[in-house]
Symmetry: C2
Subunit: 113 residues, 2 copies
DNA sequence: CTTATATTTCTATAATATTTGAATCATGGA
DNA sequence: TCCATGATTCAAATATTATAGAAATATAAG
């Protein structure tokens, strides 16, 4: 994954509303959710939601498909996985961290200044 | 890890200079690097660097220690690991993704719209 | 064709972030 | 003390991002 893409993806997720949107879409799975449902579920006005969806789509973290008069958004797991791959490579100096066991990287860690 | 912390950490890394700084510090390991070394290595003016280091420190992604007249920065692997843990939980609907094998999440993934 | 519904685009405003030179502060040595 | 070095803070300009109502667009149904 290219640095630019990494920064774009991180920026897309580095915002409370968008992180919430993405989490919701991950929960929803491949079927996804309509813009309206997301808007309602998170209490984000439609125009604001549209703005955020554009950010997420630009980062390739979500895809959209038209279904009758609804626009359905779904999470792009592949991109998220690539992002996690990049971050893992760049944590622990390349050694893979098992994210479930929060102790893997801790070995290299200093006692904190 | 709390949502606010996650957003703060993501925002800290969602900037080209800061991502480069963090990667450099990960490479450097627990010994860390002085502000001057980072500044020189990445071609970032001291005052700009200071600004970025404050962001990273605020996100608890780096620590600093004074060493004679140098300020030495080092990566906080623990925080990075916690961040990865959170993101992993929120990708693939809770199922841990092996970040080295970029195919783990792909099973759930749709064919992209 | 008209109306209702879903979503996006437009527009303006407000809030945050970034960049850096200059000034300031801190530490160590002559 | 005085000077040199390393780093941070200040200040001011610039750029980017976020918010949300109103208008426009798209689809479907009567």
């Amino acid at each position: 994954m290219e640095i630019k893409s990494v920064v774009t993806a991180l920026a897309a997720l580095a915002q409370e509303s968008r992180l919430a949107i993405f989490r919701l879409l991950v929960q929803a799975g491949p079927e996804g959710l309509s813009a309206g449902k997301i808007s309602e579920a998170l209490g984000i006005p439609p125009s604001s939601l549209s703005f955020h969806m554009k950010e997420l789509a630009h980062a390739d973290l979500v895809s959209s498909r038209q279904e009758s008069r609804y626009v359905i958004y779904s999470a792009n797991f592949r991109t998220m996985n690539e992002l996690l791959g990049f971050l893992t490579e760049n944590c622990c100096g390349g050694k893979p961290c098992k994210p479930t066991a929060t102790s893997d990287c801790a070995g290299i860690e200093e006692t904190q200044a």
